[in-house]
């Protein structure tokens, strides 16, 4: 059986996951679980989704070999180009799936949380395409540092609400989206942006992102003649990482999920419950959730998807972390050596590759370039003092 089989009946991967939501939301989660299972098994739904992925999102995304940077590092470095999807990141895979499903369930409205704004933009895009109403919650700190994406969402017809509670970043945007959903559950679908939250979200979102791993495996074999030695992705909630890992979970490939040093939930390995799931969580001695700190808004999250906690606990994947300084270097390095500006989130994965390259000499390394860096340019101008 695959290491990425379905979760247990209670929505658990090992001892992680579950459904820790207010009673009000239990029927909605049950309904979603049943609707997803039914749709995923329905060839008509799958064909509709595949059609959108091909003709709207631009799939399959290609592999690009980085000969310049790979040569410099002494490895064979290949990028999975999720940055070339419509809306600029992998987030569109999940959002098209959920929006189609929501519509099938008769929901008229989407709510979403967003950190860097990539999931918010993807949600706003799907809502525009499918004629749905959409409201995106975004931490006030992130609204400031990702002004471009805020404007994109508004342009796409969505309402964006800045969240001023708590740390005013991604975790608080999730809280506010859940509060909205508690009040509007009869007409609204919560379009959750990562492999987190209550069951069935971690499972469902992973299934929608499996396409990344499926394509990447076939493409790797064609380009490299084999699966890669190492597969690397950044991890906030962990959706792009789970997507690419899914293609190689039962292979010999080493799987590496890179967290920001200021949001290293897996390294701390302390289980907690927030946002509907039991998973590794940054918390203080009383169980208060701590604020993550990262240069990238998309990884500024104190928890992690439960399946990552599971993969870490069974030692199938490893979760190192990198500092903001290493990320800033990696961001510029890819731009200068390969002509590709990565999202700050993905620069985390590259930063680890740069650090670990001396121990990976001659190996093939596949990195998920999950988003493009245009959104980060203004912030980086400040950081670099340009």
């Amino acid at each position: 059986m695959s290491l990425m089989a379905e979760p247990s009946a209670t929505g658990r991967f090992g001892e992680f996951g579950g459904r820790f939501v207010p009673e009000t939301l239990v029927p909605a989660c049950q309904e979603l679980e049943a609707a997803f299972a039914e749709a995923w098994a329905d060839p008509v739904f799958r064909a509709e989704l595949d059609h959108l992925l091909r003709t709207y999102a631009g799939r399959p995304s290609m592999l690009t070999e980085c000969k310049n940077l790979g040569g410099q590092l002494g490895i064979r470095l290949v990028l999975k180009r999720e940055d070339l999807n419509h809306t600029g990141s992998h987030k569109i895979n999940n959002v098209l799936g959920q929006a189609l499903l929501a519509k099938r369930m008769g929901k008229k409205r989407l709510v979403a949380e967003t950190g860097a704004g990539q999931h918010g933009v993807a949600s706003a895009t799907a809502a525009a395409l499918l004629g749905m109403e959409c409201k995106v919650y975004m931490g006030a700190v992130d609204v400031d540092r990702q002004a471009l994406n805020v404007f994109r969402m508004k342009l796409l017809g969505s309402e964006v609400e800045a969240v001023h509670s708590g740390s005013r970043t991604l975790k608080d945007a999730v809280n506010e989206a859940m509060r909205d959903w508690v009040a509007t559950v009869e007409t609204t679908h919560y379009c959750l942006g990562s492999v987190m939250g209550p069951h069935p979200y971690p499972f469902m979102v992973r299934q929608f992102h499996r396409v990344i791993g499926q394509e990447a495996r076939a493409q790797s074999i064609e380009m490299l003649g084999d699966v890669p030695d190492v597969v690397v992705a950044c991890v906030g909630g962990g959706s792009n990482a789970i997507g690419i890992f899914s293609g190689f979970i039962d292979d010999r490939s080493r799987l590496v999920g890179v967290e920001p040093a200021g949001g290293a939930a897996v390294s701390r390995a302390q289980p907690g419950v927030v946002h509907g799931m039991r998973s590794y969580l940054m918390q203080d001695e009383y169980g208060q959730v701590q604020e993550a700190h990262s240069i990238s808004a998309g990884l500024d999250y104190p928890g992690v998807g439960p399946e990552h906690s599971y993969l870490a606990s069974i030692h199938r994947a490893e979760y190192p972390n990198v500092t903001d300084a290493e990320v800033i270097e990696a961001f510029q390095l890819l731009a200068k050596t390969e002509g590709i500006i990565p999202a700050l989130e993905c620069a985390h994965a590259l930063a680890w590759i740069v650090r670990a390259a001396p121990e990976m000499q001659g190996q093939t390394v596949l990195m998920n370039l999950s988003g493009r860096g245009d959104k980060d340019v203004a912030q980086m101008m400040d950081v670099l003092g340009i």
């Binding site: 207010p22 009673e23 239990v26 029927p27 975790k171 608080d172 809280n175 509007t184 169980g287």
Partner: protein, 259 residues
């Protein structure tokens, strides 16, 4: 075995009294005086909130109070220590989010509640399916776990929720988070009526019961009300005394109605 809270609520209900449970955010400046004030004003029990960093079932007022308490250094341990000094003659319940329990450990946390003199516990992000381990530990320590029932629950779910409820059943008054509303939602009495049809455990409506008039309206069907945001707002704006005056007003309205 029926616990102290449920025994007392059943006895009071039998006399025709409508049950009134104000909510006070623990750790907030002056919170102990607020508890004493609402008890003096006729509360039948008090629900003490243990603040959490991510209170997803709470609206702006209780979020603000929780944040303030946390900023002032409140912890579950400091609040439970202060509970011991309250010396009030009504049952005390705590409302907290599940990670507070999960982090401390079920048995350990249940024991710390019992040692502090708390008799019941409300965990709004712990639905029936996930409640087993906590309820077992709470039962063993003699802590009554109040279960919430939501307006979205299908008919076959309500009896199962009620069967697991100790103390009382918390009938969620509306689709949404805690906070004051201009009118009592239709769902409030509708759900309370559905619950009364399937259980003998006292049914109290909470979330969105915002003034004396709405409390009276809710208790035409339910056995009582939990009042949160409207009490906490008065503590924030006018201190313990303002909360006491308000609860006295609600008490009088409930008593006038049931007289």
């Amino acid at each position: 075995m029926t616990g102290m809270l449920e025994t007392e609520f059943r006895a009071k209900r039998a006399t025709g009294r409508k049950l009134l449970v104000p909510y006070v955010t623990g750790g907030l400046q002056g919170w102990q005086d607020a508890v004493r004030a609402v008890v003096a004003a006729g509360a039948d029990a008090v629900e003490i909130g243990i603040p959490f960093s991510d209170p997803v079932m709470d609206g702006p007022v209780i979020q603000l109070a929780s944040q303030r308490a946390l900023d002032q250094g409140a912890t579950p341990i400091s609040i439970l220590q202060e509970v011991r000094g309250l010396d009030v003659q009504v049952p005390l319940a705590v409302m907290l989010y599940y990670n507070t329990v999960h982090h401390a450990g079920h048995e350990r946390f249940a024991a710390s509640l019992r040692d502090a003199g708390v008799v019941a516990c409300i965990v709004p992000d712990l639905p029936l399916e996930e409640s087993g381990p906590w309820c077992e530990a709470a039962d063993a320590a003699g802590i009554e776990t109040v279960m919430l029932a939501a307006p979205t629950a299908p008919d076959d779910r309500l009896p199962r929720v009620c069967a697991r409820a100790r103390g009382f059943v918390y009938s969620v008054g509306l689709l949404g988070v805690t906070g004051e509303r201009t009118a009592l939602a239709d769902t409030a009495t509708a759900l309370a009526r559905r619950l009364k049809a399937v259980t003998d455990v006292p049914v109290l409506v909470g979330v969105g019961v915002s003034n004396a008039e709405q409390a009276v309206e809710a208790t035409r069907v339910a056995d009582g009300v939990v009042m949160g945001a409207s009490v906490v707002r008065r503590i924030l704006e006018g201190g313990p005394e303002a909360a006491g005056d308000y609860v006295a007003q609600v008490r009088a309205a409930l008593d006038a109605e049931s007289a």
